[in-house]
């Protein structure tokens, strides 16, 4: 669609799909508009006051017409709905693979942390053709992560992780915007997504200086906050081992089962007593208010790294 002078760049897999459904729907809309406007113009000319048109034999009361266009529009709407819903699931239910990047939003900047521990502000470097999964959280108000060229957007909420994915198909710099009003400098809360060839990306990563990976930093914090005292291998306290937890199912006290995703790990650090693993005593203290979002990200990454089956995320 780049030949249309006012068409945004489409630089990801999702962008091309969304363009397709948009154009399809636009065509339908134009047909209906043409029909309604055409009828209005034809009737307006033909039956203007004083014209000689035949006005006898008005259509008598019948439900045929209403039922006709109700069924017709409903059928068209259902097709659109199914098409759209299908794609929505695809967009918002990310695959568990590829590159995982944590993004923390605050008034008025975006902070990104790569798995290798590299951090950047208001810029996000990603390799071309790789599925990138973002885990987003906010330190203050609600923000929204929007890249027009990728046609992706998701609100970023305080106190929880939101997630979605994209897969860039074009090299270059693309605008990142905040679309949820977040205060005075809302309009300046932007940045760039830089899509690079994979080799360049690797070089860029290594140029960011020696870094401990996110998981390694998390391991240090794991000791610092005393987590290892109970969850470590040699612990005498009866606490669940965290090896292999991430990505699997956890059976809770009371019979519920939850999937141990990033949200679950984060919640368990902050409010351990709300989701007790079956067979364990609720002895873990809450870390609410003691660990900032940046450190939480590292701890979560460390717990993730204890489940090596999900290979790519390390």
């Amino acid at each position: 669609m780049q030949w249309v002078p006012f068409w945004p760049r489409d630089a990801s897999v999702t962008a091309q799909s969304i363009d397709k459904i948009f154009i399809g729907e636009l065509a339908l809309v134009l047909v209906i508009l043409g029909f309604v406007f055409g009828l209005m113009i034809v009737f307006g000319l033909r039956y203007r006051r004083g014209s000689r048109a035949n006005r006898t034999g008005l259509i008598k009361k019948t439900w045929h017409w209403e039922i006709g266009w109700t069924v017709g529009s409903l059928a068209a709407f259902l097709v659109l709905f199914v098409w759209g819903a299908n794609m929505y699931v695809w967009l918002y239910d990310p695959p568990r693979a590829g590159l995982e990047i944590y993004v923390v939003a605050k008034q008025w900047m975006w902070k990104a942390q790569h798995p290798g521990g590299q951090r950047e502000i208001n810029e996000l470097h990603v390799p071309l053709g790789e599925t990138v999964r973002l885990l987003l959280t906010s330190q203050d108000v609600i923000h929204s992560f929007f890249v027009p060229a990728f046609r992706v957007k998701h609100d970023v909420l305080p106190g929880q992780y939101e997630t979605f994915w994209f897969k860039p198909t074009e090299l270059g710099r693309f605008r990142l915007e905040c679309t949820q009003y977040c205060g005075t400098e809302h309009a300046h809360m932007g940045g760039d997504i830089v899509v690079m060839p994979p080799a360049d990306y690797a070089r860029w990563l290594s140029r960011q200086g020696e870094h401990e990976s996110l998981a390694q930093q998390g391991e240090a914090l794991f000791r610092k906050y005393g987590c290892s005292g109970c969850h470590g291998a040699n612990s005498t306290v009866h606490a669940p081992s965290l090896v292999g937890v991430y990505g699997g199912l956890v059976h809770l006290e009371g019979g519920d089962t939850v999937r141990a995703d990033e949200r679950y790990i984060r919640d368990s650090i902050l409010l351990p007593r709300s989701q007790i693993v079956a067979g364990y005593a609720p002895v873990m203290p809450s870390f609410a208010g003691q660990i900032g979002e940046d450190d939480l990200v590292k701890l979560v990454a460390y717990v993730q790294s204890l489940s090596p089956i999900d290979g790519a995320s390390q």
């Binding site: 006012f6 945004p8 799909s17 969304i18 948009f22 809309v29 209906i32 508009l33 309604v36 009828l39 009737f43 307006g44 039956y47 203007r48 006051r49 006005r55 006898t56 008005l58 259509i59 009361k61 439900w63 017409w65 209403e66 266009w69 109700t70 529009s73 409903l74 709407f77 259902l78 659109l80 709905f81 098409w83 759209g84 819903a85 794609m87 929505y88 918002y92 203050d140 108000v141 609600i142 929204s144 027009p148 060229a149 046609r151 957007k153 609100d155 909420l157 305080p158 106190g159 679309t179 949820q180 009003y181 977040c182 205060g183 005075t184 400098e185 809302h186 309009a187 300046h188 409010l271």
Partner: protein, 546 residues
Amino acid sequence: MTTVTADLPASYLTKEHTIASWLLTSDHKRIALLFFASITFFFFIGGFAATLIRLHLLNPAGTLLQPDMYNRMFSMHGIVMVWFFLIPSIPTTLGNFLIPLMIGARDLAFPKINLASWYVFNISGFFVLFCLFVGGVDTGWTFYTPYSTLFANGYVIPAAVAVFINGFSSIMTGLNFVITIHRLRAPGMTWMRLPLFVWAIYAVSLVMLLATPVLAMTLALVALERWMGVGIFDPQLGGDPLLFQHMFWFYSHPAVYIMILPAMGVVSELVSCFARRPVFGYEGMAYALMSIAVISFFVWAHHMFVAGISIYAGIVFSLLTFFVAVPSAIKVFNWTATLHKGSISFDAPMLYALGFVGLFTIGGLTGLMVATLPIDIHVHDTYFVIAHFHYIMVGGTVSAFFGGLHYWWPKITGRLYPEMWARVAAIITFLGFNLTFFPQFILGYLGMPRRYYTYDPAWQVWNVLSSAGASILAAAYTLPLLYLGWSLFYGARAGANPWRATGLEWLTSSPPPQHNFPRTPVVRAAPYQYNPADGSYVAQDGSSNA
């Protein structure tokens, strides 16, 4: 039929002349005019804010207003336009004036509550002006938490209080209409003989009654949270900010229909009268109004597709949203079909009405696009959505309001408006409107987010077009103020029924006497008994007119 009397007939306008007789009146017609004065005032306040916004956006660097001032302007524009113009616009003025006349009643069921509603409205208006003058509020009209409760640096509490109090006015007016339509219909005025305008007001009143209390509670919680520092939506306590959005949109989505349903009622009256033809599918139109009112409550979370609700919820609400589009589609097709074999004259009210149908159709169809989940992911919170709802609210509601105002102007004032000027204004409005808002669709798809005081210079051309359209629109909205004002003093006297229309309101003199009808009318005919072939019609009291 139209007897022009030399001197003023005794009417509600001339009954008494003191200021107290206006401020303490219980006559629904006078209260309608009081409301008219108030909402016109707020329309120009909101319009002023809009003008500043568009002026500011001429330049991508955004240097006219300070960022904080810009944020306050769009917030004030939204709050004033939504709660102080669009929601009360048609119900409190045309509705107030016409409901008793159309159903053959002498007044509303609770005249004192009706007057109280106006006072309450003005008190809430006072709060919003207070908020404006002490420094404004910068949350947008949506008051999203936790920004509004913990981070905003404007005067959130006065604004929330203003909207809270405003809700009482909505509830009082809505309650009055529902009870009046149930209890005070003239003999013979069965439900299936009600003019569609009455149906529309009935539907909208039900929505007001059932939705407004939820907003009142939500904003009360926001104000308390802001005041006390702890509250129901506070994520620090484990409160859910999305809960606020659920509750807010549970009101604010139906509120969109509060704005558009009365407009649909007005347009049905207008199209039928000026096409000299019965409304196509009267019953279908009435049922469509009621089903829109009901289904409007089931779709609110389509404002939250990208907000972090569950995927399942997104899918369910998308489906329900497509359902609400069905009755709207029926209405558009039926209006169009009403033109078939009509005898159409293009007087100013008809121009507004046809403009309404066209713009509403564009607004509605783009509504389908944003109801489609993946498209909404891209255009949510961009100018695409702004353009979409302005097509509905400005292109729809405001057009219908102006159309209705012109149509019933002779009934309200007893004077005819200057037809030529009115047609010019209607056409300029239509053109200016499209120039203002169509470029915003393009801006939105290009990815320009709403509520930005500065933007990518590549988008400037569309913004300049939009601002140019806005200046035309501003002129088009000022025109009626001038010529309608002129007609108050110099307009030709109108007879009882200048449009040769069928409703009961046209049976009484223009302007109507204090208690509307000298004798309670008896209804013997369905509405809209026009015959396009010879121009004759049967009024609702059963009298035939050649």
